[in-house]
């Protein structure tokens, strides 16, 4: 069973229902697209046209891992910060924790391979380590083909519990010092866009660091010559990216919509679409990040992001902030009166 394309036989009925609401046709803009997409996904799941779109158990999974390339000094912070932030997530002190509380979202952080493991057990921490950080991908493969495959499998594992909890929206976030380098390299390798266009300032590096980052990524990309998503993932990817690719594919297989956060999660989404093209139907893009590569990537996926707030944090914050818009889209689809119901004639 691979990811199947959305059954478009319901499309006309869903669009008709939206157009019959008491509003000018198309006047709710992107919310209409979202409502239509969610209705299609949920109709697919039930095997028949659904009357109501439900948003149940929306859950945030933040994947954390370390990157060998951060040894080169291309980030504002050292690798140790990844682990410190994971502890911060566990203690409920990070930005994403606040947004989860304000929007009533379930939250889990996944150790996909930070350098130093966390030994204690916590209810919000899932340990699916692929190693102690990736290799520095400038001169060698970031990970082995086995680790990449295992990453996909772990990604599915993380989604399993959500499936049994009847979750309908998966929200992905990430934490990993150095992972914008990885994301830029993946984007450039998959799309043939020049490295300069794919590399940005990350969470805020200097011009000198930026030039160095571009050079290192060019060097890494000259090591291999492939557009194959698994090869690209293995060569320049990250453990958290690998697991997110698996999570996205696994969610799409069981008709769960995926709310995609910023640049790094979008890169995982791009990889997932290259592996299973039908995954694209299940993706909703939450926001457009400040990172220049993200804008390029969104264009490549023909995505219309919901928000543009100048965010460049990661952690899934943009996606968590966009969730109320999905709830609003569901609510107008379910409850708004049609012209017939309201007796309005135009």
């Amino acid at each position: 069973m691979s990811v199947i394309g959305l059954n478009t036989e319901y499309q006309a009925a869903i669009q008709h229902k939206i157009d019959q609401k008491t509003k000018p046709v198309g006047s709710l803009g992107l919310l209409e697209d979202i409502a239509c997409q969610l209705a299609l996904i949920q109709s697919q799941k039930h095997g028949s046209l659904v009357d109501n779109v439900s948003i149940t158990e929306p859950s945030v999974l933040v994947f954390a891992a370390d990157h060998g390339i951060s040894d080169e000094g291309v980030s504002i912070a050292p690798s140790a910060v990844t682990r410190q932030m994971v502890l911060n997530f566990i203690n409920g002190g990070a930005a994403i924790n606040c947004f989860c509380r304000s929007n009533r979202l379930h939250f889990k952080v996944i150790d996909a391979g930070i350098i130093e493991p966390i030994n204690d057990e916590y209810p919000d921490l899932v340990k699916q380590r692929l190693g102690s950080g990736t290799n520095n991908f400038v001169n060698q493969s970031a990970m082995t083909a086995e680790q990449a495959e295992q990453g996909l499998s772990f990604g599915q594992q993380a989604v399993e519990t959500l499936i049994s909890a009847n979750c309908t929206i998966l929200i992905l976030g990430e934490m990993g010092i150095g992972n914008t380098s990885s994301a830029s390299a993946i984007l450039s390798a998959l799309t043939d866009e020049s490295v300069d266009k794919c590399v940005g300032v990350g969470t805020g590096i200097t011009d000198e660091q930026l030039i160095k980052k571009q050079q290192l990524i060019s060097q890494a990309l000259s090591r291999f010559n492939s557009k194959d998503p698994m090869v690209v993932l293995k060569e320049v990817g990250g453990f958290e990216i690998a697991q997110m690719v698996g999570a996205i594919i696994a969610a799409a297989k069981v008709n769960i919509a995926v709310l995609v956060d910023g640049f790094i999660v979008s890169t995982a989404a791009l990889l997932a679409c290259k592996i299973e093209p039908n995954v694209r139907n299940y993706l909703i893009f939450a926001h457009q990040s400040e990172e220049s590569g993200h804008q390029l990537l969104l264009r490549k996926l023909a995505a219309k992001p919901l928000l543009n707030l100048g965010l460049r944090l990661g952690e899934g914050t943009g996606a968590a902030l966009a969730l109320p818009l999905l709830t609003a889209a569901a609510s107008f689809y379910n409850d708004m009166a049609s012209f017939e119901d309201a007796g309005v004639t135009v």
Partner: protein, 331 residues
Amino acid sequence: MLMLHKFSIRSIILLLALLVIVTLSLSLGFGVAELGHREVWQCLTATCEKSIYNTILWQIRLPRVLLGFIAGFGLAIAGALMQNVTRNPLADPYLFGIVAGAGLGATLTNFLPPSLQFFTLPLAAFLGALFAVFIVLMVLIKNNWRRTEHLLLAGVAVSFLFSSVTSFILYMGDAFSTNRVIFWLMGSLARADQTALMWIFPVVFIATIVALLLSRQLDSLLLSDESARTLGVSVEKLRIGTLVICAALTAVIVAYCGGIGFVGLMIPHIVRPFVGLTTARILLGAGLVGGCFLVWVDVVARTALDGQEIPIGVITSAMGSVFFLLLMRKM
């Protein structure tokens, strides 16, 4: 070379079919330990333990195994055709200047202005390979095919010419692009995406059919040019046609997989004692064995070194050269 008549053709066909099936199914089981042979078997016979295994199996492992099989098939039949058409046991599409031509094409892509970006590396490599073949054929047609050995000699000369131009450009160029071309030249099945299969499969398929249709005429060529002529075969046309088929086969495979040397040289020699000399038999025999061979070489390339993938061309060339030397000793 001695013929082994103890195998009937039926048992050979059975053996080859078995080899192909075993190769294709077993090679799928190499990768992450969690998805090994037992789990692959479960996926094939029932449903997968985890739905992500479907993706790993069908979208990731299968295309690569298929590409390896088809590339090996194509290279081996190109080698078998060349050996039969030149009646030279050392003929190999790679001695024909094809790889050097492809390498030059690949190198030149680094210097194209952005407006010519549609000349991607595979396309440029393909054109370079065809250009090399064109030069070799021109030389031979000019001297009226006085000796078929000239084909190999001209091929070697063209190889050296193109390699030297490539080396010069790489020497002058920047290190990153040099890396890119060198890694490509070492050969890999890592480009195993849908586009690669989409281009390679039809070419290999059509070339195989055409070669099989020509097999009776090619058989007559095995005797000698004169005998073939007396049997009503137009030798020059047949030879050029066959060489063009070999060129197209090799060029398209080299374009996507880089330099995978010596498969075309050694596989026909390995199968000849078992299946016989006639073209149709050796084509199918060499193709199937070549395909299986490359699949297994790729398994070794993927798994031998922990964390690194060995370029597949390195392994085939190393094995091929030793084989070549042993072959020379007997001749």
